[in-house]
């Protein structure tokens, strides 16, 4: 497994963990305090920022090639797919909110950071999955 694959798996693990934690805590708060206070549990999604540690944790030794032309190609494809997914996500979220609450209703400003965090999660999950699929397609295992 190369560095990019390790970072992708790390991202998926962190995001999955944060989502489970957020849903779990929201459920716990729902039983304790009811809605809408329970939505405070979604704040645990903020731990998803730990994916920034990925490049630091999986550093390569000095002198080793960390990123070559094949990695560039895989990353470009992953970023393109992530950007496309984020576009569909934001269009869906905005239209769904509009249709759900109606045309003449106001929504809470607290929903906006949730939309942004959701987009962040969608982008990173899609990028990580595409990266892992592309590396598998383009061959990473082999013996000397």
């Amino acid at each position: 497994m190369n560095r990019q694959q390790k970072i992708a798996w790390f991202n998926l693990a962190v995001i999955s963990g944060c989502m489970m934690l957020a849903v779990g805590m929201t459920t716990k708060y729902a039983f304790q305090h009811g809605f809408p206070s329970a939505f405070g549990g979604m704040g645990f999604l903020g731990f998803a920022c730990l994916i920034a540690l990925g490049p630091l944790l999986f550093r390569k030794k000095k002198g080793q090639v960390a990123f070559d032309e094949r990695d560039v190609m895989v990353e470009r494809r992953a970023v393109r797919c992530g950007t496309t997914a984020s576009y569909f996500y934001f269009v869906f979220v905005c239209l769904a909110t509009w249709l759900y609450v109606g045309f003449d209703t106001k929504i809470s400003a607290g929903l906006l950071p949730m939309f942004v965090v959701g987009g962040f999660i969608v982008v990173n999950v899609v990028q990580s999955i595409v990266m892992l699929v592309e590396y598998r397609r383009r061959g990473t295992s082999g013996q000397e």
Binding site: V65, D68, R70, R138, G139, T140, G142
Partner: protein, 73 residues
């Protein structure tokens, strides 16, 4: 319809050059070992620059490392 395919002799050339490891070839060509593995397996076609660097690492012409085969159906 004609099907084109690029094959390579990297594995053979590595063994003929003092049993060079994939890591050693990767270091000479300036890429990761995984890229050399993928090229040997035919799952990745290198850029022209990288192809020339690999040929230079073996000290042979490009055509000895990579071959272009066109099959017509």
């Amino acid at each position: 319809m004609a099907k084109s395919e690029i094959s390579n002799q990297i594995r053979r050339l590595r063994f003929e050059n003092g049993e060079m490891t994939q890591q050693q070839l990767a270091d000479k060509a300036g890429v990761t070992r995984q890229t050399i593995i993928a090229i040997e397996a035919g799952k990745y076609s290198p850029s022209l620059t990288l192809a020339f660097r690999i040929a230079k690492a073996f000290g042979v012409p490009l055509e000895e490392v990579f071959q272009y085969e066109q099959e017509s159906s």
